[in-house]
């Protein structure tokens, strides 16, 4: 996604990333993590705000920092970083609320042409409760993304 994004930091296994959201409510530390699920090679993508005072992470906070597109573009960029280093992995993603899931769906939809060049994207159909190739305009409960095999 060729949008403005924040520079981020990672540990050397590319599973945890950190960046600072800069907006109208100040500087907010964000953490992104790819965690192994119980299914081989499937990693869960999650991100949220790090609360420096309480030393905890909240993925339900509505930061309202006026930079949600930049934050999403940064998180999307970590997908590239992660899959470059784990080319056989699939990433599972869902929002912490249905509103967030819709936001992710819109982010994928708006960039589907570019994303599809590099990745397979699947949506979990709310109606059928099964995975299908992502279709713009459909409502999904969760997403799976993996790297396309280059011939």
């Amino acid at each position: 996604m060729n949008y403005p994004k924040y520079l981020y930091r990672s540990e050397n296994h590319y599973k945890v990333y950190e960046f600072i959201s800069e907006g109208k409510n100040g500087s907010i530390k964000k953490l992104v993590q790819y965690s192994e699920t119980g299914t081989k090679n499937i990693y869960n993508l999650a991100f949220g705000d790090y609360d420096e005072e309480n030393k905890n992470i909240n993925d339900l906070t509505i930061t309202n920092n006026g930079d949600s597109l930049k934050v999403l573009a940064t998180v999307a960029s970590t997908v590239y970083a992660f899959l470059e280093n784990y080319p056989d992995a699939m990433i599972f993603a869902t929002g912490s609320t249905s509103v967030r899931t819709r936001l992710y769906r819109m982010g994928i939809t708006n960039n589907l042409a570019e994303i599809s060049n590099d990745f397979n994207v699947y949506g979990l159909s709310i109606i059928n409760q099964s995975w299908e190739d992502f279709i713009a305009g459909e409502d999904y409960e969760a997403f799976l993304i993996n790297k396309k095999e280059k011939i």
């Binding site: 990672s10 540990e11 050397n12 950190e18 699920t37 999650a46 599972f92 699947y122 299908e132 799976l144």
Partner: protein
């Protein structure tokens, strides 16, 4: 150090390593999200192609 234009135009990202993040690698930072993911994957499995 890359400038902001390079960061913004780069599809393959520019990453700065931070040793302070090493301690977070093996921690589950979002346990509820991971639980939800595992429950959904157990219920619906993977796409047919996989």
């Amino acid at each position: 150090m890359k400038n902001i234009d390079q960061i913004n135009s780069s599809k393959v990202p520019i990453i700065v390593f931070d040793e302070k993040l090493e301690k977070l690698r093996d921690k589950i930072l979002f346990p509820e999200k991971l639980k939800k993911a595992n429950e959904m994957l157990a219920k619906v499995g993977l796409p047919n192609k996989h």
